[in-house]
């Protein structure tokens, strides 16, 4: 038996199959992608979060209009660090701000007027994305019809996303809805101005803290033309011609494999999975792409240049971090993207957890970790605390909600969702990542957590 029931979960034994200890030869994957146990203090978010926050949100010149009461719009206003070179999508928050009257009589008219007004006030918006929240699904506004009507009136695409928060079990369904909606309604609606034999899309790269600005030029230096990044720093106009790529690469394989697969199924464009984190994995991704386009030499040249520049810095940090142990808790893919890069710094990941991982995410984790590794699906606050106290990692890579809990336990922390001082992707980004781990682990602040007092409250006299 390799599943574990931590002490805090004794009253909720249904958590047991979600927590496993890795035993080679007797591999059990955590039970995943099912409903959360109500009241278990989950860290999960909702379908709206996956759709608006992760996949749709980064499109920089779309008016991101949230159809619902005010909260959902407010909480997604500029929060996720999906940077762009245009201010519209992070500076402005658009909402229909539904009130009781709309809940009773419907929000259709308010939505239609909101779309038209937002377009008039922000003509720089090249499309309007309309996200439905819980209440819209319950009152049954026909957002498809309203968006169609609005689009005819204002002359730009108006895209409805049916991402009510209560649908599905986590953010994950929201990713899928965003992928499907953009594929069905946008991809293929326009042809690229020109094509080349070296056209490629980078899929599942959201430009967190500038990641896309690091990785895109790597491929361009190889001679690849990046047709679109889906959806980091993307313009709306980058999405329609995605079907004319010769190859797609997928970085976030949880949130975005859907669209790569749909493009493959409909247009026959192959896709390959990549990990653009760490020196070795990034180099491997460049080699894979080089091989596909027969640009092997170019790939090796870029890799050599990057390694010459950044490997010495990584070696420096390895000396300072060698032998450390860490926890990684991420949405899903970064939990396995980062296991190998940590080893490049001499760090072993002793616990991984994901908020909304599916079976394939856990297979990837298990293929990378050592015996005794603990893996948790959809961990809750109490489980995280129990394992932090029990296993005392040297640091924890998680998200903002876990950050201050970890600090109170006297454990260093790195925000892996939005990063501390990113970008973290690619060769150059990995140096930032290593530096931030070094800052966290080797800060003098931790030595003060323990007091010099004896129990009596007096100073210890040496």
């Amino acid at each position: 038996m390799t599943t574990i029931l931590p002490e805090c979960d004794i009253p909720i034994p249904q958590r047991r199959p979600h927590i496993v200890c890795h035993e080679p030869g007797n591999m059990v994957l955590p039970l995943c992608n099912i409903q959360t146990v109500p009241g278990d203090m989950t860290e999960r978010g909702c379908t709206f979060a996956g759709c608006r926050g992760v996949v749709g949100g980064p499109v920089k010149d779309a008016i991101q209009l949230v159809h619902g009461p005010i909260g959902c719009a407010y909480y997604t206003w500029g929060t996720r660090r999906n940077l762009s070179d245009m201010k519209l999508h992070r500076k402005y928050c658009f909402s229909t701000d539904l009130t009781e009257e709309s809940v009773i009589y419907g929000g259709a008219k308010k939505l239609l007027n909101s779309i038209i007004e937002a377009h008039e006030l922000f003509p720089e918006g090249k499309a309007v994305f309309v996200y439905s929240t819980c209440v819209v699904g319950l009152i049954g506004d026909d957002t498809e019809a309203i968006c169609k009507q609005a689009s005819e009136k204002i002359g730009i695409p108006v895209v409805p996303f049916h991402c009510e928060g209560f649908r599905g079990v986590s953010q994950s369904l929201g990713h899928h809805i965003a992928n499907r909606t953009l594929f069905e309604k946008v991809v293929g609606t326009e042809e690229p101005e020109t094509t080349t034999p070296y056209d490629m899309c980078i899929i599942g790269e959201f430009n967190i803290d500038g990641d896309a600005w690091i990785v895109k030029p790597l491929f361009e230096r190889m001679g690849v033309r990046v047709l679109s990044v889906f959806t980091g720093n993307a313009s709306f106009s980058d999405i329609p011609p995605m079907h004319r790529a010769k190859l797609n690469i997928v970085q976030c394989q949880r949130s975005s494999t859907y669209i790569a697969k749909m493009i493959n199924d409909k247009y026959g464009i192959p896709y390959i999975n990549v990990s653009l984190f760490g020196m070795k994995q990034t180099a491997e991704a460049l080699r894979d792409v080089g091989k596909f386009f027969h640009l092997e030499e170019n790939a090796e040249k870029v890799i050599a240049e990057e390694l010459a520049r950044y490997q010495p810095e990584i070696d420096h940090y390895r000396k300072r971090l060698d032998g450390k142990k860490c926890f990684i808790y991420q949405g899903a893919p970064r939990a396995w993207h980062w296991i190998e890069p940590m080893r490049e710094l001499g760090i072993e990941t002793i616990l991984t957890a994901t908020t909304f991982g599916h079976k394939d995410d856990y297979e990837k984790i298990m293929s990378k970790v050592k015996p005794g590794h603990i893996c948790i699906d959809n961990p809750n606050a109490l489980e995280i605390e129990e394992y932090l106290v029990k296993l005392k990692p040297d640091f924890f890579i998680g998200g903002l909600k876990e950050k201050y809990l970890t600090y109170k336990l006297g454990i260093p922390f790195i925000n892996g969702h939005s990063y501390e001082e990113g970008p973290y992707a690619g060769f150059e980004g990995f140096v930032n990542f290593a530096r931030d781990i070094d800052v966290a682990v080797n800060s003098p602040v931790w030595k003060f957590v323990q007091t010099p007092y004896l129990n009596t409250g007096t100073m210890e006299v040496s």
């Binding site: 978010g45 402005y92 109490l382």
Partner: protein
């Protein structure tokens, strides 16, 4: 504002405020009855403002609840929170989803308890499509009192209703009451629960130390009176007055000279405590700080946005300091907001524009028309301040792009000194001729 679309709203939904009210109660676990985003987003917002973790449970409603109702999820959630955390209270916040599907939360909560249960459930109704985060705070606090407050022996204490203010503000009010030797019950008190220490060995309690004790909430029915720091959270004071004859004083937030004078006099009146010299000395330091800066600040145009009690009190204080408050904006409507500002306009011959129930897009337009050399508000004012090339003094909730704002008071005489110094330093630090600052 004749728009349908809301652009840049400085307001959140009811569960956000309700969670804050519950987090100020010792041993109370907030439980959101809704989709998972309805707990995750407020938690995120609390984490980034207070730089603290906020543990909030959620009933994780999904599609089946939309069809069959959420009773099963809520019952299971209550059971699981109880068995794992054994809290004194579970504070329920409803959401747009649970309210729209029509769950009878009071009944579900009642059925979830077994006879003789020590744990109490607070079944607040906080639909996200009504009001704002302040409505949610008000509803949760009133429901806490409706559920717990009970007549007993007079306790010789004063109830202080805090509202959405910071730990630093609460500590300052406690300090004033200590100086005046007045005993109090804070409804509710986040000064410890959302400003927690890192303790030796990283030892941390399961639920945070501090907060108002449930027994104090029970006892609030026996107090000498209730004073609000924020009138938006005042329905609990009205409830105590109507139900238990506890006198209610719903006055402006004690920011600036006159409002803090009123607060001190209210405390003195209700408790019978004299106003000690130390309070008069604190007041004197505020006046001294205003005298020190009046040449810098006279006539300075300031635009203020945020929650209504805080905004109208800062408008008054700005006028007291000789500044020219040009725009006062709040997204939460409140009956006292416009009268407060109009009174300042007439007393100080200023012409503060009143924006109520609107958004920051509108605020920005009005700021452009009426001018501002300084903006006072939360972090959402940053882009406007940058566009207008003026400084932003950060107050209110949330402030996530500066550290420590929650630690310092802007309330009381000391808090007002700190706020005025911040405003003055912002002016001095922004395009002020340094040659004029040597003496």
């Amino acid at each position: 504002m004749a728009r349908s679309v809301t652009i840049n709203p400085p307001k959140m939904c009811q569960p956000m405020g309700a969670i804050l009210a519950y987090m100020g109660v010792h041993g109370c676990v907030p439980l959101v009855h809704g989709s998972q985003g309805c707990s995750t987003y407020p938690r995120y917002n609390i984490a980034r403002h207070f730089r603290e973790s906020a543990e909030v449970a959620v009933s994780s409603l999904a599609e089946d609840a939309a069809i069959y109702g959420g009773a099963k999820n809520l019952t299971e959630a209550i059971k699981n929170v109880k068995s794992r955390l054994n809290p004194a209270l579970i504070g329920i916040c409803t959401t747009c989803m649970s309210e729209t599907i029509g769950d009878d939360v009071k009944l579900i909560a009642k059925n979830a308890l077994v006879p003789g249960d020590a744990m109490k459930i607070i079944p607040a109704s906080t639909p996200s499509y009504v009001g704002t985060h302040l409505t949610g705070y008000d509803n949760a606090l009133r429901t806490l009192l409706e559920t717990l407050a009970a007549k007993g022996e007079p306790n010789n204490k004063i109830n202080i209703i805090t509202g959405v203010i910071n730990p630093g503000d609460i500590r300052e009010i406690k300090n004033m009451l200590r100086i005046m030797n007045v005993k109090s019950i804070f409804l509710t008190d986040i000064s410890e629960t959302l400003d927690t220490p890192i303790m030796p060995g990283g030892h941390k309690p399961l639920l945070p130390d501090g907060g108002t004790l449930p027994s104090e909430i029970v006892d609030s029915a026996n107090s000498l009176g209730t004073i609000t720091l924020c009138r938006t959270a005042g329905s609990a004071a009205v409830y105590l007055k109507n139900k238990f004859n506890v006198p209610a004083v719903l006055d402006p937030a004690p920011i600036g000279v006159v409002n803090t004078d009123r607060f001190v006099q209210n405390i003195s009146k209700l408790s019978g405590a004299p106003i000690p010299d130390e309070i008069i000395r604190e007041r004197g330091r505020l006046i001294d700080s205003m005298v020190d800066v009046h040449h810098y600040m006279f006539g300075r145009k300031v635009a203020i946005f945020g929650d209504p009690d805080i905004v109208s009190a800062i408008v008054r204080f700005a006028a007291e300091a000789g500044m020219n408050p040009t725009v006062a904006m709040t997204a939460t409507r409140h009956k006292d907001f416009a009268p407060d500002i109009k009174a300042v306009n007439s007393e100080y011959s200023v012409d503060t524009q009143i924006l109520e129930g609107t958004d920051l897009y509108e605020f920005h337009k009005v700021v452009k028309t009426y001018g501002a050399e300084l903006i006072v508000g939360n972090s959402k004012g940053k882009d406007i301040a940058d566009d207008e090339n003026v400084p932003l003094v950060r107050v209110g909730f949330p402030v996530y792009d500066r550290v420590g704002v929650y630690r310092y008071p802007i309330i009381g005489y000391n808090g007002s000194i700190y706020l005025l110094d911040q405003m003055t330093n912002a002016i001095l630090g922004h395009k002020y001729d340094p040659n004029k600052l040597h003496q």
